[in-house]
Symmetry: C2
Subunit: 133 residues, 2 copies
DNA sequence: GGGGTAACCTACTTTCGGGTAAGTACTTGT
DNA sequence: ACAAGTACTTACCCGAAAGTAGGTTACCCC
């Protein structure tokens, strides 16, 4: 008699757990590789699309747009487009996005401490970590 | 004359940017959906494999093991296995892992504030957020 | 000697994110 | 008349991640 695995209710469980684990909530909103990096780039102030792209040469245009759209739909940043030619689009953090500053700062502190341990050459400092506004 | 897109050097760029953006460093080590959640569950202390699994019914066994292995290989947690039958395996945060406590705490603070805004019903408090040890 | 238990492992399949490359609309500059 | 700039969009493809389902070991208990 082969028993059946109890893993089939995972999709149900997911919904319940959102109410339990705060980190799960965070991952649903800013999870993934790129979103925190985009948010970090906007911490220092509103930027045009092209500025963001040049600040992140690692990401492809397609994925950048996609991440920006998702972050906008998720209420983490605001898109302001002036109807001119050539287009002029500015992205800025929403209030929810600004509220992530402590999270990103804590990440940066950890990153600096860790990379110092691993390779003392790559020493950095946080003196000019973006504040808000 | 069709010009060639300048996106072909993305793999090269990625390496360079690690030295520039601290958030990128963080994403390389704890990026992805599950890793922060696993780390959060270990913040309150060492746990057996089965405890972690029961604490995270959303994740499949396969993926949980995989994430634990990756976190171990990445030096974020330590695995201690007692050679008994049935097996007895304990996972605990390494020093690097413990150093993530402020990051996870900042995330939890944000999550609580945000979920209060969105649905005042889901009110939570952080009074028993895991300290370390 | 059959069932329970703990911490896995393996094979298979589907899904999804991401990479590459190119095109578009409209204007300004030469 | 052509290139350049701006903010995208589209199509195609690929590999990695994740889900599903089963198996394994070796002991203990009844």
């Amino acid at each position: 008699m082969t028993r059946i695995k109890e893993a089939s209710t995972i999709q149900e469980n997911k919904k319940l757990v959102f109410q339990e684990c705060p980190i799960t909530y965070v991952m649903e909103r800013i999870g993934g590789y790129w979103k925190p990096i985009v948010l970090f780039n906007l911490l220092s102030g509103a930027k045009r699309y092209g500025e963001i792209r040049r600040a992140m040469p690692q990401i492809t245009e397609k994925v950048l747009i996609q991440q920006l759209k998702q972050l906008e739909a998720d209420g983490l940043l605001l898109r302001e487009a002036k109807p001119v030619i050539p287009p002029h689009v500015v992205y800025r953090l929403s209030e929810s996005g600004k509220a992530l500053q402590p999270v990103l700062y804590a990440m940066a502190v950890w990153a600096v401490a860790e990379s110092e341990q691993n390779s003392p050459l790559a020493r950095k400092d946080l003196s000019q970590f973006p504040a808000i506004e």
